[in-house]
Symmetry: C2
Subunit: 226 residues, 2 copies
């Protein structure tokens, strides 16, 4: 592929707290500064969660608004991607900030088991989040935790519920969802290319698996994420 | 494979009602007679749901007990498999009848989207259902609605939470879960054989897809289901 590789920085995530890792940026100001450093080091996409003051995950649109404003100012040209992941609220709360028009937002196109719970993305919510992204011109990054989510995303791109070309992130290494498995990764890539030939993709591994997924993703012509 | 092919009859299912199809057996007596007919026609395994008097899905152990007793009497030697599927109750209610010691019971090793809802099998419930099956000597039929469920089942067989050899049913054609896709089916078979070489498998398609899945399953050395 001749297009440039995109290096992503995932700031904060939805789980680690300062007690576990004092370097985790929690406030919006900390997040902007931490992203700025990654931006200067070459990262071109910021995957963003926000937190409440007690460090618990939040989906407060006001926090997302301040984060977006800070990133636009400190990291000009950086692609800003908001997480619509399930830790930060229930149901449509998870998409309440899409009207802020970030460049991208994550979209899981199905449900799967996580280490201790069900990661619920019920069909109506998936459709509604996709509608909001269409309405506000936000490009989805499909978070594919399993094979059926790739099929679902391709179906939605085909019938216009998602604006093409698809961009899919294959997530491996989450306990009870997909393990880190090379043959499955290659099958995911093959299946995506078969269903949506113009799609782009990347791989994400959890924790210690990240380097492995970056390597597989680059070898298969995908982007990477740090 | 030299072992005999198993023909399954799925009586009643969890959804159709008499208003949709007057031939659907609802009462335990109707279910026993309908299964008896299939048994005489060559079916060797009965996959069983039970219903309340208003035809809604039930997980009442007393109904399962009468069904098991009727099948043992009218269909000697037939393999009786109870469904632990999610329509019939919430949480552990779904496994309340495992102490009756049917030959087999269904076990979904993960969660996935269904047409209008999340089919929830949260991690603790999967573990508990598997424990009950081990305790009462019930052989699980893994209902694999997606790839990660095959990995999860293989992991559970490896660490002893499921007694081997694994038996897995690949389910395709449920909207929002896996579509009917030959390359995915073949990859499921390959993956299962790689992770658990002694495993057996079958394919199940929903409604009009059933014949397709039976054909693929037999071609790949699996069992079939009617
Ligand atoms: Zn995230
Ligand atoms: Zn700065
Ligand atoms: Zn069933
Ligand atoms: Zn009879």
């Amino acid at each position: 592929m001749s297009e440039p590789t995109i290096i992503t920085v995932a700031i904060t995530g939805s789980l680690p707290k300062k007690a576990n890792n004092p370097a985790v940026p929690i406030t919006v100001t900390e997040q902007v500064e931490s992203t700025h450093e990654a931006f200067e080091a070459g990262a071109s996409l910021a995957h963003c969660h926000v937190r409440n003051d007690d460090e618990s995950p939040s989906s407060d649109p006001e926090k997302f608004a301040r984060l977006l404003e800070g990133l636009r100012k400190h990291c000009p040209g950086m692609i800003v991607q908001f997480s619509t992941g399930g830790r930060s609220g229930s149901g449509r709360e998870r998409g309440g900030m899409l009207s802020l028009k970030p460049d991208m937002a994550s979209l899981s196109t199905g449900s799967v088991n996580f280490p201790t719970r069900v990661y619920e993305n019920y069909p109506d919510l998936v459709d509604w989040l996709a509608e909001e992204m269409l309405r506000y011109g936000v490009k989805p990054e499909i978070e594919a935790f399993d094979l059926s989510m790739i099929f679902k995303a391709a179906e939605m791109a085909k019938d216009g519920r998602i604006a093409g070309p698809l961009h899919v992130q294959f997530v491996m290494g989450v306990k009870n969802a997909m393990p880190v498995d090379r043959e499955s990764f290659d099958f995911f890539v093959r299946t995506l290319k078969r269903l949506a030939p113009d799609a782009t993709f990347t791989g994400a591994g959890i924790g210690r698996h990240q380097a492995t997924l970056v390597e597989w993703s680059l070898a298969a012509g995908g982007h990477c994420r740090t």
